[in-house]
Amino acid sequence: MRLLAGLLGMAVLAGCATGPDADPRDPLEPWNRAVYQFNDDVDHVLATPVATLYRNVLPVGIRDRVRNFFANIADPFIGVNNVLQGKIEDGFLDWMRFAVNSTVGLFGIHDVATDMGLEKHNEDFGQTFGRWGAGTGPYLVLPIFGSSDLRDGVGFVVDIYADPLTNVRPHDVQYLLYGLRFTQTRTDLLDASRILEEAALDKYTFQRDAYLQRRRSLVYDGRPPRERELEDEDDSKPN
């Protein structure tokens, strides 16, 4: 926690660097690029090889169960976030998912709730703050955890408090579960990161813009209001 606060402080200081090419959404770009490079190096040396090995060794059926298990323990707080955003019914559906999957789904390793028509939601505290009207603030690249922004960074700290793994003891078991979840998540992103490598002229910009678009869409549950910029440029479309 103290580490994160320190890094945020450094990020603010580094933000003094601005150029003519600066993106108004990303005033801390020089700092962010440095962290991005660090993350990318760690990813190439450690995370991607481990995730690739994990994918090659474990059959897809097992990996689905691991994903389901961690998805299930996240559902109660997804429900809390839905309720905090005023979506009471969605919140109750998330808690029903948790009840059904934890029992019928054998501690969550089977996602029977989805088969019953109870769809999984994607919520976190960053989205809740966004729903309450908080702007994103400057874009931030967090060490290891990657793309974020000031609002989502604060949300992320609250997410950690709400994370069921935070209170798991002994620590050996906790670290094992953290490691497994991180590996599963990274494995699920292997294809996406390969596509990013191929699609982007500048990976940093491409990933930043995708993150900001994605979060905006999530805050509005997939129905964001049209941006003015897009409307203006519709005129340039040849007919």
Binding site: K120, L201, F206, S236
Partner: protein, 217 residues
């Protein structure tokens, strides 16, 4: 542009009024039906092709060029990604930009398709008026233990039928995502600089595809 469009549609309506009823009926496949047909056809062709499943990227690209490409309006896509800079480009620059951007998008699309592993699709009913000429066709990809991924195709009605001019995956517009990148390259090295960067990117992807580096790990 808008005036030209309304003029054309006005002319089309006038022409339709003179035609016998049978010929006046909607000649184009509706956009939602088009998306569903093409998606299912492509997925089915991949499932039945041993070479593509074994990682033959050139064959997959050939399939995309034959089946998917004709349903996209790449000039519209490139214009939208270029934004204001599109108006500053010469006709020749526009043609080259469109060509290079098309090559990049086809490769990216091939890469995304190669990652497909039998997820189920949920084709959403189209919410549009019959008179609409610009619609969003929604498809959702279902996957275990995760929220479904929405894929939204922005489609416009052209003289040659419905064509997609943007794809949004999980709320991320492909066209909008290239806009900042393109704008910053044009600011630094002009439109020709962007053409060169795109061409270099395509060359490096082509080279790695041939040496097998880009094949599925």
């Amino acid at each position: 542009m808008k005036t030209t469009a309304s003029l054309i549609s006005a002319l089309a309506v006038c022409a339709a009024a003179w035609l016998p009823p049978a010929a006046a009926a909607e000649p184009f496949t509706p956009p939602d039906v088009l998306v569903k047909n093409v998606t299912l056809e492509v997925v089915d062709l991949i499932a039945r092709d041993k070479d593509i499943r074994a990682g033959d990227r050139a064959k997959l690209i050939g399939l995309i060029e034959a089946k998917v490409l004709p349903n996209f309006n790449f000039t519209s896509m490139t214009a939208l990604a270029l934004g204001q800079n599109w108006r500053k480009a010469s006709p020749e620059q526009k043609a080259r930009l469109t060509e290079e951007f098309k090559t990049l998008l086809v490769r990216t699309y091939a890469s995304a398709l190669a990652a497909y592993s039998e997820q189920k699709f949920d084709f959403r009913p189209l919410r549009a008026k019959p008179t609409d000429t610009d619609v969003t066709v929604q498809v959702r990809v279902l996957q275990p233990g995760a929220q479904p991924v929405p894929i939204d195709y922005s489609m416009e009605k052209t003289a040659a039928g419905w064509k997609a001019y943007d794809v949004m995956v999980g709320g991320v517009s492909l066209v909008a995502n290239y806009r900042t990148e393109f704008a910053s390259i044009v600011r630094q090295s002009g439109i020709d600089g962007l053409i060169n960067d795109l061409a270099a990117k395509n060359r490096s992807l082509g080279a790695s595809a041939r040496s097998g580096v880009a094949a599925r790990p």
